[in-house]
Symmetry: C2
């Protein structure tokens, strides 16, 4: 490597639990494995759009230990040691610390964290933003985040003020509108910094996570995890570290948060229905119809999400898809 | 048989084509094979509720040739020759004539026709009504029909005036109300007469059907059928024969015409949902949910009929279930 090139490693955070796209996604096959957009799985797209900035060997994935094998199959180009299984769920705080420990043995290495289940419409602009963030991170001592230009006053995302670099949690509808007026950006969960910067921030705000981030722990990973709190990296560090550098991003980002994404990414018929797989739709409007096994026949219905898999059939009102968790408590 | 006992044969008309309960019913397994009510299939219930008035050997079934084998399996107690297959669909006119030809070799034999896909809540009262009709038929020269006491001004049934014995076709809503006021009864498609009476009526009003009814035709049954018009027995004979004898029946009759019958015959949960099979129902109201393969999960929906089979998933608004045929044109 040339002396003054930046050593950049990417860590894909793949801890999804498969609830929001159930029954298409399941705990055994969570959202990042969905192939519904663009032919490749979301996790594979998340890796491929970074190529050019990184080589396969520079990409790490942190996922649950149950999903390590499936992730390796999905990303056979990665060195298999680069797919790391967490022994239990401890939210993104632990996952980021583990990723820093694995990818950032040298304090000067820049490590970037990227969710495994997002959509990017324009990968070229995405790479330009990431490259800029990596450059800033390599020269400074702060964590850099990509702030997404909001397209509507979302209440489902946290925000970041690009002027001050301070993070705010998911707002209510009124606050969300105010944030848009103030020019706040969406926190898309992508943060980039030197490994040393991450370690310092963890030492200051989440010392429990330091052993993981330094790769120095004598116990089994399982025992280390057992003792950790469940805490997100946003909450543990980003909201407390007194400001980050923000690189604005405008590259057609979407978190693919629910079946509503089908309405965004698939074409509609003349009555506003989205269809995937064998669907017969008669006198029905504005439905999302995804047939993965048996043929779906709709007659005289509207605003439904209907999904079939060999095991399950979901019929939900579109307005209620954010409440999918209510089904798991019963199933 | 004692000299003055009546020789009574029952013919079950089983020509259903399986559309109205699709996807539970199919052309290969039409409605009469449904087991949803009372545990036994509708066709088996249709036979069993006549026992006492007839022996198994006195029961004939006229069905399509494709369904002969399945019908024999469903009714193994019947002599296999008693299950007769029509080579093609020619409506109930031909089916009745064929039944008279098979069951009524003796002109004095009383033959009764009964649909294969109806519900009777009180078989004891049903048998009493049939017995009365058989007795009247054996002593007279008219066709006797069971007239069902209407429970609402149905537009889906024909009516019979019990005073005059004259038949009227399915009315519009306004006429239906008038018919109820006049004391008209529902025509449930059950008619009983001596074989000779049937043959005379056919000779007078539908001479094309006489060879079938007399069992005297030299050509193959297929060729005989080919030449026949598609015409219902009601239209060919009952509406033209100048009056029938009417035995009023009040035995909890239902024609099980559509999925709406589930609302009538199954218990509801506290929010008005009917469930059969594995169904998870969350914050949903007044749905009919029939899971025959994959589990159904409902979230925030109402007034739907949701049915799963291994091949098909139906999601229809309850108010539209009479329009099920629209789905077949597309499937």
């Amino acid at each position: 490597m040339a002396r003054n090139s930046i050593d950049f490693k990417a860590v894909i955070l793949a801890g999804g639990c498969g609830e929001r796209f159930w029954p298409l996604s399941t705990p055994e096959r969570p959202k990042q494995f969905l192939r519904v957009f663009g032919g490749e799985s979301l996790i594979r797209q998340s890796v491929m759009r970074l190529l050019g900035l990184v080589r396969f060997e520079d990409v790490y994935v942190v996922t649950s230990k149950e999903l390590v094998a499936a992730t390796r199959r999905e990303l056979p180009e990665l060195p298999s040691d680069n797919v790391i299984g967490e022994p239990m769920r401890r939210d993104t705080g632990a996952a980021v610390a583990l990723g820093v420990g694995e990818a950032g043995s040298d304090d000067r290495t820049v490590v970037g964290f990227f969710p495994s289940d997002q959509m990017v419409a324009d990968p070229r602009r995405f790479r330009a933003s990431v490259k800029k963030a990596v450059s800033i991170a390599s020269r400074g001592r702060r964590i850099v985040t990509l702030g997404i230009k909001p397209t509507f006053p979302a209440t489902g995302f946290g925000y970041v003020d690009p002027k001050t670099g301070s993070f705010v949690e998911k707002p209510d509808a009124k606050k969300a509108k105010a944030y848009l007026k103030k020019g706040y950006l969406w926190n898309a969960g992508m943060f980039i910094a030197k490994a040393g910067t991450f370690r310092s921030a963890l030492a200051a705000h989440a010392p429990d996570l330091v052993p993981l981030a330094s790769g120095r722990f004598s116990a089994e990973l399982r025992d280390v995890y057992e003792a950790l709190p469940k805490i997100s990296f946003d909450f543990a560090v980003m909201e407390k570290c007194g400001g980050v550098d923000v690189v604005p991003g405008d590259f057609g980002w979407d978190d693919v948060g629910s079946f509503a994404a089908f309405d965004t990414y698939f074409p509609h018929d003349s009555r506003g229905n989205v269809r995937e797989g064998p669907c017969t739709v008669v006198e029905s409007d504005s439905n999302i119809c995804v047939a993965r096994s048996a043929r779906i026949s709709l007659l005289g219905v509207k605003n439904l999400v209907v999904v079939t898999t060999p095991d399950s059939v979901l019929v939900a009102d579109k307005s209620r898809i954010s409440e999918m968790k209510k089904l798991f408590k019963r199933n």
